[in-house]
Structures are given as structure tokens and as C-alpha cells.
Amino acid sequence: MWPLKFKLNGKRMSRKVKPTQTLLDFLRLEMDLTGTKGACEEGECGSCYVLVDGKPMNSCMMLAPQVQDREVVTIEGLAKGRKLDVIQRKFIECGAVQCGYCTPGLIMAAKALLAENPHPTREEFLVGIEGNICRCTGYNKIMRACESAADEMGLKK
């Protein structure tokens, strides 16, 4: 077992982990944070995105020990109490949530994008979320939610 120390959603954590366990399974089964979803299990769909030191990472492609001394933020870490993050709120308002299985991953992708790039062009938005697959919505409303979040955050021009 690997003695893992890391920061999860703002809190310092210390856990013994199986070195071969993926970060995805570790978060879901050991930390009971089931908001992060597994879907393709090979880094192709972005459903399992979490932020590792602010970067969106496919947690299905990382082993738990790889977050040693790093900071992990999951979908559960976005809302402040009952107050939703603006990106969460915009996904809901714009109808970008249907079956909802891709939603946490997409929100994390958008979160990382807007944190790094306050003024994304449409092309930059596409680069930021082209790694996420949604099978229900057709993406139009997802794009609208992202752009609308950027507008509201006052980040866009």
C-alpha cells in the first residue's frame, strides 16, 4: 500500500492506497466521491475529468499515487455549500444537462479553461471541451452554457 498525501477539494488528506488503483476508482470507492464518472475508461471521453493542480486530467488514466503532494478538485468541490458555481448554474439554466453523465466532466473542463484563459475565443472554447463526449445534447447548449458562464463571470471582453 502506498502512503498517499494530497489535497482534495481544499482539505489535506492522508490515505493508504493500492498503487495500481486508478485515481478514478480511488475517488469513487475509497473517498465516496461518486460525482466523477467513468465512461470510456481509456481517456477518450472526459467524463472523469478532475482538476489536478488546476489542470483537467482524465482520472481514469492516472494512478492514485500520481497525485502525491498535489491538489485535486472534483465536481463536489465546486459549489460553496448550496451556492452553485456559475458554470454549474449556467449548465442548468441553458439546458445543457440531459442524462447528466457527461456533465461533471464538462463542468470541470470549462472550469479549468476559464480559470486559465479569461477571454476564450470560440476556437479556444472548442479546444477546451473537444475532449468531452456527450451522447445526448448535441453540444449546442453546452457551448452556450460555457459562453454564458464566461459572459457572467465578466471575463469575456
Binding site: E42, C45, Q98, C99, G100, I133, T137, G138, M143
Partner: protein
């Protein structure tokens, strides 16, 4: 304001421009129906709190895994689980000998064994289940199970399976069934036609690729077996599992967790039945199971690949006179819903076009490939690619504008469709007109930014029978009750797989009774609590369950009006309920809130509860002619237009513009209607251009999203939606449905545009860059 925001706002504005209500509906101003209310389950989904099947796991539970067949076609000589049972951490290993019931399942024919006893027919067949303390141990133990096989010659093509000396996959042979349609005299009419076009079109195997993999848990406490797995028709799953496992129906409870997409892929039984079996053997233990993406793709049924031989005859002026169509349907290893898919292909063989003489044969052929069954579009999607493809070839041969040719032949109100059913209110022309106007058909431009880019324009029209039809019992039930705290509880077994049923039923109940949406509490999909509402399939939930909800809500409202009348000492027919309050419009000061109605009802001994069933009949199609006066309860109409560029050097396609018009009768929630249209078009883009399950010797070569290519945000343009609302007299508030038609229209519109761009048709789906390049080269 961003460009996408503008377009969406325009679309929503367009809803109001294009909405046309019948006078009956105009009299009442809707308060909840027709409003884009936020999804009732969206907050949980956006915060990660919502629990899907796999989110019900705990380390404390046991885990099950299935052993799959080692050969696509083989006899099982012996199964020896002894070594596997010795692996530390293994709790049990189960085989067919442990199944107490019939050990058979299948939606229409019970032809698939839960655990195979003597024969395997494809590589996804299950032979044994290991239950262990964790998944890793279960996986390791699977490899210790010894199975002796006698491999049989396997059949991977319909040609091989139809050979007279082919080995039989099922005892009765390799033909699942045949479906025939004879309308008028097609051979004579074809012989007399001025112009004939003929072609063979091959569609592909498609995976549903819902993101939420099959997963869930089960527990048997000695009195009740509870299974929590996402399906599409809880009560049918309960029937199938109870029969297969030999359990009385009343001892089986199925609860639907949140569901991350289905698209027909959860219609066939999957892990529910294994979980049930394991739980029955291990009393008071919770068993979990999940598929990996590879296992999910390897095991689950697919969209039928269909080879369509289509011959279409017309007069010189373009009037259609005859169609002769043969569908060869690759069934894969088991029947699944194949008979119904074949029937849907036949009954939609000429789509929205009036053809007086039609001859259709549909032949379903068993092979040792994945079983094929339900997927959004259900036989009608493949058929639309064929009939629209042939309309394009006919237009070229006649030298006619393809839109003009289509307009000339569209069914109008009072015309017969393929089955001979008269459609009293057809809106194909309205839908087609709307997309032609939007894309400015007459002024379309073929000028492109570079000489190696060719532009093309495509159109399609959909005419789709809603519900099961064909005389098959098709019913939805609902229950409404007013609780003591003044909440309308609404019970239905309709499952929300992401499409928005939760809002549809709640908005209908709120509107009907006259309460705000937040006063409705939907309770869905638990066989112990909710009445049977049929499947989430066939675009039927809005029409069927929506109607059942409206009926139950209307009955509950009458009870509330009775109580208000008695309490307020008013005449019952003068009592209105609005915004959750009952009053007489003449004396609005005297009012009762929902809580007061509940209290007063209870005091007077009323249950304040209403149940309903909505079960409109259809008539079976004649077995010889395929004709029926009422093959379906109603028809849906839609039309698409597409503008794209083909790169003639690489064969790549870029969709520049996409317009989809659907007549939904009434948009119960317009935002969700647009979501369904845009999502359906996107799935159609996948089917048209990139998605294909590649099989070699019965094995899927691309069982994962690295090689099974799905549309991303890069592949999808702004999808301009036009929603028409011509009310259906049978649907709730006039609503029809919208689930499948957006997908059905997309493939043909894109293929039509590619043909327009490059001048040769692509005959095999998907139209990948390679196939387009080869079509140009030929």
C-alpha cells in the same frame, strides 16, 4: 451576446412564430405546459450528487463478473468451476445448473439463455458468474473456470447463413422470420413505369454508446429480491427476470437509478438478470456488477445492419407509381426485438411518400455476430436512408429538382401511408416547406472557398409511426394523489433516461390540476411504488404516459373541485383551480389552498387519489399484405436540410449548416424538445459519417471510444431547430413526441448532400472519408 446565444434565442422566438394551436387549445392560456422549465433533476446532476448505477457500489459489497464464450459458435461439452471456487476471496461460482426458472429471456422470443447450458452463439454469451469480495478476484477466478467446447462452423455473413447447408444457429434454422407487405400491384405498375431507379444500400452496425455503463446492485432478503439497474421498461424486465429465475413476480422489485442515456440499448436484459441470480443464492448480501466499456460493447445488442435492395418507379412527371423493396436484416445471434424492427422497416418502406403499389419483403437472418435489437430509429432509420437515397437518384434521372420531386409526392392529410393507414392530419408538407424556406433552397450557392472543396445540399422528410402499433398492447398508467402537506404526488414507471420525462410528466400534471410546478413531486420507476407505464421507447412516453398523467390529474382535480364546492358552498362546475388555489371566479375572495383542500378532503373521508390507464388500440398488420387501418396510433412528421462541404482530396465532410423541423404537436417543454432534436441530429451525424462497429469473425475490433468514433463538439454545427405545434387529438395537450424522428431524418439528409456535392452516391454507411473518396474515384 455570442453567436450561439443569438441563434438559440432566435430558435426559441421562432417557436412562437411557428406555433399554431387549434382553437380548442387556444382558449386556455397555458401556465406550465409550453414553458421551458428547468430540468427537475439538473441540480443533482450538475453537482455530482445524483446516483447512477455504479454510484451505488460500496467496498463492503460483493462483486460479480461473467465468463463469456471463447468461441462465436460452439457446443458446450462441460463446465468445471471447481478451481475457480478455490480462489481465495471467491464466494461462489454459478452456472446454468444454479438457475431455478426457465433460464431463458428475450423481449419478443425467449431464445437467449441467462447462462448457457449446451451452446454458445456469439462471443458475448455468458457461461458462468463468479461472485467474490472484489472485482479483481472475480476477474482472476474467471480464468480458472474450465469450459470444454466443440467449436462449430460460425456464420458471420447473411449469405453464408442463408446457404442451404449452413449449420443451424437456432434449432429452427437461420431465418428469424419474414415480413411481407403487398399494396396494390407493384410488379405490373413497375413494368408500366416511365422511369425506374434501383440500388443496393448497406447500413452498418451501430453501438448506443450511452456513457453510463451497465452497472447496479441487487439484494435478496428472503422475502424480496431488489434489483437496482437502469432499464427501459421496468415491468417487462421484472417479468423476464422472474420467469427466468423462477421467482414469483411479487417477490421481485426493480428500482431505476439515475440513467445516463439508453437510446434502445437498455431494452434487452443485461446485468439485472445476473445480479438477481447471484443475490438469490447469497441471502442478505448486496451484490454489485458493472461492465467495462469493452464488455458493454461486446455483449450488448446493436443497431441492425440492413442491406436494402430498393427499386422505385415513377411517371415522367415524377409521380411515384411503384416501390419494390427487399430488406436483408442481420439479426446476429438472438431475436431480441428484431421481429418488431423488421416490421417497422416494412411499415415505413416508402416513408412520407405516396406510392400506390408497394411490394416489400423483409428477411431476418441469424448470424454469429452480436445480437441486433432496439436503437433510436428502430428499423425506420435504415429505411429512411434507402427511400431518400432512391428519391435523389430518381430526381437525377428525371432531371428534376429533388425538392420539387419530393414535394410532389408527399403524403397530405387524408392520404394513405405504406401500411394503407389513412393519416387524417399529415404535416409533411409544412415541415418540408419550413426547412426549404429557412435554407433558401432556390438561392443555394455552390461557390466554395477553394476548388478542391465541393458544396452539397441535402434534404429529408420523416413520417414515423408512434408507439408499438401492430395491435401490440400498448398502455401507460399513472397515479396522482394530494398529500397532507399540499403536494401533488405523481407516480409512473416511465423511466427518465435523460430525455426529460421527469419534467414532461410533472409539467402536464401541474398544468392539468392548476398548481405551480414546484407543488408536483414526481415518483418514478420503482415497481413496488409505481404503476406500469410501458417502455421508454418508440417515441411513446410523452403521448402515452403523458396522457395517462393528464387523465389521472384531471380525475384528481375533479375530486378537489368537489371538496372545494362543498366547503365553499359553491357549485362544483364554477370552481376553478389556479396556481394551487381553488375558488369561484365570481367570488375569488373565498379560496382554499392545496393544504386546506387536503385537510378538508381527509376530514370528509376522501382519498384524494386518482389512477388512470391510457391504452389506445391499434390493429395488427395483415400477415400477407402488411396492411392495417390503424397500424399506429398516430404519425410524426419532420424534415431536415443540410449544407456541407466535401474535400475532394481527402473525402472529409464539413457540415456548414443544419436545419431540423419537427411537428411535435405540442412542446410540453420547448427547451427539452430542442435538446432532443439537437441530440438526435448529433447521433444521426455519427451514424452517417463515422460510427461503425467493426466485426471480424464475430469479434468487435473497436470495442472502445478510441476506435469507435463518436461525434465531438468539433463535428456538430449549430443545429437550427424549427418546432411546429399542430396538436394531435390523442396526445396530452396535443403533444405527439420527438425522441426518434430527429435521428431518422439526419442520415438521409447528409447522404443526400454528399451525393449533391460529389455527383455519386455513397452506398455503404458510414460515409467515411475513405468511402467518399472511393465513391468519387469509381
Amino acid at each position: 451576446m455570442s453567436k450561439s446565444t443569438e441563434i438559440l434565442d432566435k430558435q426559441i422566438a421562432a417557436l412562437h412564430v411557428t406555433a399554431r394551436s387549434s382553437s380548442a387549445y387556444e382558449q386556455k392560456q397555458m401556465k406550465v405546459v409550453g414553458k421551458g422549465a428547468q430540468r427537475l433533476d439538473a441540480v443533482g446532476k450538475a453537482t455530482g450528487e445524483t446516483k447512477y448505477g455504479q454510484d451505488l457500489f460500496s467496498k463492503k459489497f460483493l462483486f460479480a463478473k461473467a465468463l463469456r464464450a471463447a468461441h462465436p459458435h460452439a457446443e458446450i461439452l462441460s463446465i468445471d468451476p471447481r478451481e475457480a471456487k478455490k480462489v481465495p476471496g471467491v464466494i461462489t461460482v454459478l452456472t446454468h445448473k444454479d438457475v431455478s426458472g426457465t433460464n431463458l429471456h428475450g423481449l419478443i422470443r425467449r431464445d437467449q439463455e441467462v447462462l448457457c447450458s449446451h451452446k454458445v452463439r456469439y462471443l458475448g454469451d455468458a457461461i458462468a458468474i463468479v461472485v467474490a469480495t472484489d472485482e479483481e478476484i472475480a476477474g482472476a477466478a474467471l480464468r480458472k473456470i474450465k469450459v470444454d467446447y466443440k467449436p462449430l462452423p460460425a456464420l458471420f455473413t447473411m449469405e453464408d447463413a442463408l446457404k442451404p447447408d449452413a449449420p443451424k444457429i437456432h434449432a429452427e434454422g437461420n431465418v428469424l422470420g419474414e415480413k411481407h407487405l403487398r399494396k396494390g400491384d407493384a410488379p405490373t405498375a413497375m413494368a408500366e413505369a416511365d422511369v425506374i431507379v434501383e440500388d443496393v444500400i448497406q447500413t452498418q452496425s451501430v453501438d448506443h454508446a450511452f456513457l453510463d455503463l451497465e452497472a447496479g446492485r441487487a439484494r435478496w432478503d428472503g422475502k424480496m429480491l431488489t434489483i437496482e439497474v437502469s432499464g427501459q421498461w421496468l415491468h417487462e424486465e421484472r417479468r423476464l427476470i422472474a420467469l427466468a429465475l423462477g421467482l414469483p413476480l411479487e417477490k421481485l422489485r426493480i428500482i431505476q437509478p439515475a440513467t445516463g442515456g439508453a437510446f434502445g440499448g437498455r431494452e434487452d436484459i443485461s446485468i439485472q438478470i445476473y445480479l438477481g441470480l447471484c443475490a438469490l443464492k447469497l441471502k442478505a448480501k448486496t451484490i454489485c456488477m458493472r461492465y467495462s466499456r469493452a464488455e458493454s460493447m461486446m455483449v450488448r445488442h446493436k443497431r441492425h445492419p440492413i442491406r436494402v435492395h430498393y427499386k422505385l418507379g415513377a411517371k415522367k412527371d415524377g409521380t411515384l407509381v411503384a416501390a419494390q423493396v427487399t430488406f436483408y436484416v442481420d439479426k446476429g445471434a438472438y431475436a431480441s426485438t428484431g421481429i418488431a424492427v423488421m416490421r417497422k422497416a416494412s411499415s415505413h418502406a416508402t416513408g412520407p411518400y405516396k406510392v400506390p403499389n408497394v411490394w416489400v419483403d423483409v428477411i431476418g437472418v441469424f448470424t454469429n455476430n452480436n445480437p441486433c435489437g432496439a436503437m433510436r430509429g428502430f428499423g425506420a432509420a435504415q429505411t429512411a436512408i434507402a427511400y431518400e437515397g432512391l428519391m435523389d437518384r430518381l430526381a437525377v434521372k428525371l432531371g428534376m429538382d429533388k425538392a420539387e420531386l419530393r414535394m410532389k409526392n408527399l403524403v397530405k392529410s387524408g392520404d394513405e401511408v405504406t401500411t394503407g393507414q389513412v393519416v387524417p392530419y399529415a404535416t409533411a408538407v409544412e415541415c418540408f416547406d419550413a426547412v426549404l424556406t429557412r435554407i433558401d433552397w432556390k438561392n443555394r450557392s455552390y461557390a466554395t472557398p477553394a476548388p478542391h472543396l465541393k458544396r452539397g445540399y441535402g434534404v429529408s422528410i420523416v413520417c414515423f409511426g408512434l408507439g408499438y402499433g401492430d395491435g401490440f398492447p400498448d398502455a401507460s398508467r399513472a397515479r396522482c394523489r394530494l398529500t397532507e402537506d399540499g403536494i401533488v404526488e405523481l407516480y409512473s414507471s416511465g423511466v427518465d433516461v435523460g430525455q426529460g420525462l421527469i419534467n414532461m410528466v410533472s409539467q402536464i400534471a401541474a398544468e392539468e390540476i392548476g398548481v405551480p410546478l414546484e407543488k408536483v413531486r414526481p415518483i418514478l420507476a420503482d415497481t413496488q411504488l409505481t404503476p406500469e407505464s410501458g417502455s421508454t421507447s418508440a417515441t411513446r412516453q410523452t403521448y402515452f404516459t403523458g396522457s395517462a398523467v393528464q387523465l389521472a390529474a384531471a380525475e384528481l382535480k375533479k375530486q378537489l373541485q368537489d371538496i372545494a364546492a362543498a366547503h365553499l358552498k359553491e357549485l362544483v362546475y364554477e370552481i376553478q383551480i389556479e396556481n394551487g388555489e381553488a375558488y369561484n371566479a365570481v367570488r375569488p375572495a373565498k379560496r382554499m389552498t392545496l393544504k386546506e383542500l387536503a385537510r378538508e378532503g381527509k376530514r370528509r373521508g376522501f382519498s384524494l387519489e386518482a389512477t388512470s390507464v391510457f391504452k389506445p388500440p391499434t390493429m395488427p398488420e395483415d400477415t400477407r399484405t402488411g396492411q392495417s387501418m390503424r397500424a399506429f396510433v398516430t404519425y410524426l412528421f419532420g424534415s431536415h436540410a443540410c449544407q456541407l462541404l466535401v474535400d475532394t482530396e481527402t473525402g472529409e465532410v464539413k457540415i456548414e449548416r443544419y436545419i431540423a423541423c419537427h411537428d411535435v404537436g405540442r412542446a410540453i417543454n420547448p427547451d427539452q424538445v430542442i435538446g432532443q432534436i439537437q441530440g438526435g441530429v448529433t447521433m444521426g451525424i455519427g451514424m452517417a459519417l463515422m460510427e461503425e462497429v467493426v466485426l471480424k469473425d464475430g469479434r468487435i475490433l473497436n470495442p472502445g471510444f478510441t476506435d469507435y468514433i463518436l461525434p465531438t463538439i468539433r463535428d456538430v454545427p449549430e443545429i437550427e431547430c424549427i418546432v411546429l405545434e399542430n396538436p394531435d387529438p390523442g396526445g396530452p395537450f396535443g403533444a405527439r413526441g420527438v425522441g426518434e424522428p430527429p435521428l431518422i431524418g439526419t442520415g438521409p439528409a447528409i447522404l443526400s448532400a454528399i451525393y449533391d456535392a460529389i455527383g455519386t452516391p455513397v452506398r455503404e454507411l458510414p460515409a467515411t472519408p475513405e468511402r467518399i473518396w472511393r465513391a468519387m474515384a469509381s
